[in-house]
């Protein structure tokens, strides 16, 4: 596949979520935080198992973190939404956010969302190197494996697939297909990882308060009343996917993901190519602090690169200038 700039772009993140828990909303914020630091970029977001409101939510979070006009529609993919059957009702978590008119949004109807199997694949095509996070049912990721050239594409460009276990049942046939056919390394982020890292609810009121209208804080409060901590299932997976080299977690010996009778997942060491994340108690505070700092960061507005008249001569061209709102 022709790509002369391969290896020079930030790592792309392809996130497949059901967007039905606070940790999923916070994972979005974390990923946009990494994007602001140019440590990674969002390749695509796709949602299955949720209503139109979840797609609107993801879109307005994207617009919140990347204000201004969409980049001509070429390099910003609208969130994918599984809409080939009846759509579930919107959860209170997203309903509370999308009902607020302060948030800019581009999605009003299903036709404004993207086809999930296409946006998963295209999210990889858009990036020289990508990671995938599968937190939703595997239905649409499995579909992509049957598309022309996709296995070769994933083999070439997907560094790893991180499968998140939050205790929800899976689409068993689809997950079996993914486990059998996915051509890149597969990492299992088990429930115990998320549960060992309770996101401090108090930080939502403190660190996200720099603006009177923050969609992530609104979603947190709408999910449940009061201040509460919650498991960091998707946050942990996102952290590992982007910073797998930073030793935030340990890795198990190879094994396999098995599906229980109720289609929930479990990891078993032994024959297999999957490796499971192991919590490292010594890194817990570092991780929680990183979660709060990065997910609560203000949006970074990229400004156009400015070419100086003497660019291309001895002195290097200036780096991209970033500006934080209010700074």
């Amino acid at each position: 596949m022709q790509s002369p700039f391969e290896g020079k772009q930030p790592l792309g993140v392809v996130y497949n979520t059901s967007m039905d828990r606070p940790d999923a909303a916070l994972a979005l914020a974390l990923l946009y935080g990494f994007q602001g630091k140019r440590e990674s970029r969002i390749g695509s977001i796709s949602i299955n198992g949720a209503g139109l409101g979840a797609a609107i939510f993801c879109d307005l979070v994207q617009r919140f973190y990347t204000p201004g006009p969409l980049r001509n529609g070429n390099q910003v993919l609208m969130p994918g939404l599984a809409a080939d059957g009846p759509l579930p009702a919107d959860l209170a978590m997203v309903q509370a956010v999308i009902s607020r008119t302060e948030y800019v949004r581009s999605i009003k109807r299903v036709g404004d969302t993207s086809l999930p199997e296409a946006v998963i694949r295209n999210g990889v095509i858009f990036n020289a190197e990508a990671v995938m996070i599968l937190s939703a049912r595997a239905t649409y990721l499995a579909k992509t494996l049957d598309l022309d050239g996709v296995k070769e594409l994933y083999k070439d460009r997907v560094k790893m697939l991180v499968i998140v276990d939050s205790g929800n049942p899976q689409d068993a046939p689809a997950m079996r297909k993914v486990l059998a056919e996915f051509p890149s390394p597969v990492i299992f982020c088990g429930r115990e990882i998320g549960e060992s890292l309770p996101f401090p609810g108090a930080a939502i009121d403190k660190d996200f308060a720099w603006t009177p209208a923050h969609p992530i804080a609104d979603a947190y409060h709408a999910f449940r009343s009061g201040t509460y901590d919650f498991p960091s299932y998707d946050l942990a997976a996102a952290l590992y996917a982007v910073h797998s080299d930073k030793n935030f977690f340990q890795l198990s010996e190879p094994g396999a993901i098995a599906l229980n009778d109720d289609a929930t997942m479990k990891f078993a060491p032994g024959p297999g190519k999957v490796r499971s994340l192991i919590p490292d108690p010594t890194r817990k505070q570092d991780i929680l602090q990183l979660f709060v700092e990065v997910s609560s960061a203000k949006p970074v507005i990229p400004t156009p690169r400015v070419r100086r008249p003497d660019a291309g001569k001895a002195s290097p061209a200036p780096a991209a200038i970033t500006k934080k709102p209010g700074s």
Partner: protein, 449 residues
């Protein structure tokens, strides 16, 4: 319908010295034709019309999903045939995008649109693309017709050189690709197109060819002996059809001859090949009339027509636009330039509408050619100013033999590949490729059932 006892072959040719002429569908062919593998007994045709440089999308997209009502201004010329077509919104040609390769949108757009494949960046001979949708369709029906497919262009052709940021001109000038490295150049000369269809299958000696051209002998004169013999075997209805058909062939011949004569006074600045009508609308009409004749005679069932090569700089003095098309589309929001783009878009749609009206008026048994066809009109670029390759302007005209319920606007989810539409079309033509470009499956919603 009168069914003659004579089972005239669908591929009967009227032959003369150096000429062979296909026939239209006649009642006398019904028994033989019904025995073919064509579903429903009548052939389905597919055509792709490609318009370069995108569209002024502000005046293209109908507001609501559902039955087509009052059309937006650019689509207004289609009002007379709105019940025979669909407007399909949000389809994408992903490989037209810059992705990681960078500039060259015009160099990629056409190839990515027709194949759903990555366009390999080269200005040399090492072209690499994929088989285009029309050629996949042609592979299914080629055995039934004289020509597997017909490639038509309304601009000069180039097959080599760097046309856009390192992309070969072959990518911008060819819609049809037989293999990943073999484009099928479009014919832009009306006479050459006409002769490809209605000339002899046997190679004509150069001397005879030159003599016939010099004498401007009508093909009809050359096949008159066969014509008379055939007439004695036909019923009244078929004789009338044959007469109408031969008259239409003669009209096209005369148009071609007139064009060649008029061609002598073409402004050389127009850079058109010999024989092309000097006015673009006449050129469009002539070439689409030949396409209709090809479909009518079942000489081919698959055609592509390139209104302009991708990145075309054609001016449209016929409607008072002296600026080039491509530069105008980089309007940067300039309303005067945008208005001119809209006028060019409308002109193309007016001519396309005329073509559809003629197809509809062309009877075939108890149906008509438009009902038996699937005609795509579209571009691999939507907004020509910033080169977007999603939310493409797409029209699907015809009923495809009955499986399409037209008269509607359907809004698909974004990123739905345009190849999903093409995969559905080629399947209707009788071929089920395992994959067609980057398609993710069939395009739902074309039928109401």
């Amino acid at each position: 319908m009168i069914i003659s006892q004579k089972k005239l072959s669908r591929r009967t040719l009227l032959r003369g010295i150096g000429a062979a002429l296909s026939l239209p569908f006649l009642d006398a062919m019904t028994p033989a034709f019904a025995g073919s593998t064509v579903p429903g007994g009548k052939p389905i045709r597919a055509a792709w019309f490609y318009v370069p440089n995108g569209i002024d999308m502000r005046h293209w997209t109908p507001g609501d999903e559902g039955p087509l009502g009052q059309m937006p201004s650019i689509l207004a010329p289609l009002q007379p045939v709105k019940d025979d077509l669909m407007v399909l919104s949000n389809l994408t040609a992903n490989w037209g995008r810059p992705l990681l390769v960078g500039a060259g949108d015009h160099g990629r757009a056409l190839g990515a649109y027709m194949t759903g494949m990555q366009v390999y960046r080269t200005a040399g001979a090492d072209l690499r693309l994929g088989v285009s949708a029309d050629q996949v369709a042609a592979s299914a029906v080629a055995q039934h017709t004289k020509l597997p497919s017909l490639e038509i262009g309304l601009e000069e052709t180039r097959q080599a050189g760097n046309c856009d940021n390192g992309y070969s001109c072959a990518y911008a000038y060819n819609m049809a690709w037989r293999t990943e490295s073999q484009p099928l150049p479009p014919i832009s000369d009306p006479r050459q197109l006409f002769e490809r269809l209605f000339g002899t299958d046997v190679a004509e000696p150069p001397a005879l060819h030159a003599r016939r051209l010099a004498m401007r002998a009508s093909i009809l004169d050359q096949v008159s002996g066969d014509t008379k013999k055939l007439e004695t075997t036909l019923g009244n209805s078929d004789r009338r059809k044959l007469d109408e058909y031969l008259s239409s062939v003669r009209e096209i011949e005369q148009q071609v001859q007139r064009a060649e004569k008029d061609g002598l006074i073409i402004d050389p600045g127009m850079d058109k090949p010999y024989g092309v009508p000097p006015e673009f609308p006449d050129y469009f009409r002539l070439m689409t009339d030949i396409m209709i004749a090809a479909f009518k005679t079942d000489s081919t069932r698959v055609a592509t027509l390139m209104i302009g090569r991708e990145g075309s700089t054609r001016a449209y003095p016929e409607i008072g636009i002296a600026d080039g098309h491509h530069p105008l589309t980089h309007h940067m929001g300039n309303l005067e330039m945008l208005e001119k783009v809209s006028q060019i878009n409308s002109l193309h749609l007016r001519l396309f509408s005329e073509f559809l009206v003629k197809l509809k008026a062309t009877k075939e048994g108890d149906s008509n050619l438009l009902d038996q066809s699937m005609i795509v009109y579209g571009s691999g670029i939507s907004d020509g100013n910033v080169h977007t390759h999603d939310q493409l302007p797409t029209i699907l005209a015809g009923r495809g033999g009955g499986f399409i319920n037209p008269g509607r606007h359907v809004i698909y989810q974004r990123e739905t590949p345009i190849c999903n539409l093409f995969a559905t079309m080629v399947e209707q033509m009788g071929v089920r490729p395992e994959h067609l470009g980057d398609s993710t499956g069939r395009l739902q919603g074309l039928s109401l059932s």
